[in-house]
Amino acid sequence: MSKSQQLREEGNRHFQKGDYVRAEALYSQALIVDPSNPLLYTNRAMSRLRLSLWDSAITDCEACLRLSPDNLKAHYYLSQAHLALHAYSDALEHATRAHRLCVAAEDKSLSNVTAQILRCKKEKWDHEEKRRRRETAELEKEWDDKIKKMREVFEKARVNREKRREVPEWAVDDITFGFMVDPVITKTGKSYERAAILEHLRRSQTDPLTRAPLKPSDLRPNLDLKQACDEFLKENGWAADW
């Protein structure tokens, strides 16, 4: 028996006992002696998988496949390592290749390889589903925020629009219902647009509210109201022709 063969079998014994560290070391020694034996690479890859050494397991499988491209075990282990690293597409690709080889060789590990394919697909889907859900949630939140913001904008616009329509009563002449430009005040304390009340007085020299005698000379400008009207109109030009 060759040296490498001896080391390999000793490695297998340790592997069986579950001592993957020793097994891995023994396979490594065997490979120093016989670096072109594909079997040693898959043996060591298997130990490394058990030790969760995913990257170095991949290195072994790839080394094996360079020597023996259709190595079923190499593809199978490669799939497992990739899956552990969440490289779902690679994992599925190698599981699928392992499966094809398995079928061709009528290998007894077919059910394991089939299960691996399913595992790859499921984990891939789970992962994508998680991402989808996260994205959906993010999208939902994003749009909820946008809709909320939009509502606020519309609400604000609506309030402004409604505010626009409100012409304060004090600025409106009771005769023309127009916005006052030159308000004059009568003896009763009520103010009217000068042009409107003069028009009324031409017809009837009475106070519109009390019907008490009222002459044009009784009217006084209401300066404070005029100023208030001017200022309101400056801020609300639309009110000029409400």
Binding site: G178, A195, A196, S204, W242
Partner: protein, 155 residues
């Protein structure tokens, strides 16, 4: 001052449309700024006017509201002329605030309707004005040109 009436009536109309009229008063039509129709009814149980609706016609001149509107009741199949000592059976109303002297430009369609509504509500006399038949037969004047003698301000 031209254009008074149109502008003022436009504003009255938009106020009516946005705030609506008081109970018992309804705008029937306001298709132009010359003639509007409104329905009024009394809100209490005055037996003279119970379950009746009355149609009012407003006619506006270009000088409205400096000049009063011409306001009359209109007789239709389901709109009688209300019985009242100041309302002639042809619908002409003798009310000082609608006359040349009593009118004030601060009155408006709504306030006139309310005045007429309360004029009916407050009445208990089941009678027409004195000389109603003669007046209805002989009168050719427009209501605003009739020189009513407001002899009884309690009605």
């Amino acid at each position: 001052m031209a254009g008074f009436a149109t502008k003022r009536l436009g504003k009255e109309l938009s106020k009516i449309n946005s705030n609506s009229l008081p109970p018992g008063i309804e705008l029937v039509s306001a298709d132009n700024f010359e003639e509007w129709f409104l329905d009024i009814r009394v809100l209490d149980n005055n037996p003279l006017y119970l379950n009746q609706i009355y149609r009012l016609k407003f006619r506006f001149s270009a000088q409205y509201p400096i000049e009063p509107p011409e306001v009359t009741f209109v007789k239709l199949a389901d709109r009688p002329i209300p019985i009242h000592p100041h309302i002639y059976s042809n619908g002409i109303i003798c009310l000082d605030l609608l006359g040349q002297q009593g009118w004030s430009p601060v009155q408006n369609v709504e306030s006139v309707c309310m005045s007429l509504q309360s004029m009916l509500t407050g009445n208990s006399k089941n009678e027409r004005p004195a000389g109603d038949e003669e007046f209805v037969r002989a009168n050719r004047l427009r209501p605003k040109d009739i020189d009513f003698y407001y002899d009884d301000n309690n009605v």
